[in-house]
Symmetry: C2
Subunit: 119 residues, 2 copies
């Protein structure tokens, strides 16, 4: 676990657990965050990933995703910028993110937003 | 949702949700059940998948896996026989089970039993 200069803690690659990643992805809003980050060429701030939900609720979701090793957060001024730890996840669990994001065949991602239910 | 003659309910393919599958897989014992079934050429009874845990605890895990559509249970006499719904999962979420079971590259499966913690 490394705490960077922004004060956010991120697990090291060797400590990632598939169970923790699955827990992180078992919530529809957290899955939306992951999909939005995967589709973005640049890091995104928390406000752009709030989907109209209260800040406190989304902070909880970001914390769980960060603790599982799914995303990386840094401070830029007053903003918290998030990016997917895709390279690390792909090294550690090959094919997992591709399958989750529907990159492997017919889309596993595309048919989910309509079934989104509040967390 | 279809209830078969054994009295077990199984979700239909069209109602599967990635979130429910991830919740089902977020527990180390449930992940062990899935890996054991994936490695077995034939259905396995609950006793052979109990890993020394109490029956009530494992019944709970089987129920969650069944409700998420991950496994199928039938009665054979007094035994409950379980199998992975692999074909359906592969159709619905291509590549997901392969990634979970470590079939996609270096093993995501092989290095987990030693980090297993009690549920």
């Amino acid at each position: 676990m490394a705490r960077d200069e922004s004060g956010f803690s991120h697990p090291d690659e060797g400590t990632l657990s598939l169970e923790a990643i699955f827990h992180a992805l078992s919530d529809p809003y957290r899955l939306r965050i992951v999909r939005a980050l995967a589709a973005s060429a640049v890091p995104m701030n928390c406000g752009d990933l709030s989907f109209g939900r209260p800040k406190s609720s989304m902070s909880h979701h970001f914390r769980i995703l960060r603790a599982a090793g799914v995303l990386h957060t840094t401070s830029q001024g007053v903003e918290h910028m998030n990016s997917l730890r895709r390279d690390m996840l792909d090294r550690r669990f090959p094919g997992l993110m591709a399958a989750i994001l529907g990159e492997t065949g017919q889309s596993a991602a595309g048919d989910h937003p309509r079934r989104l239910t509040p967390a």
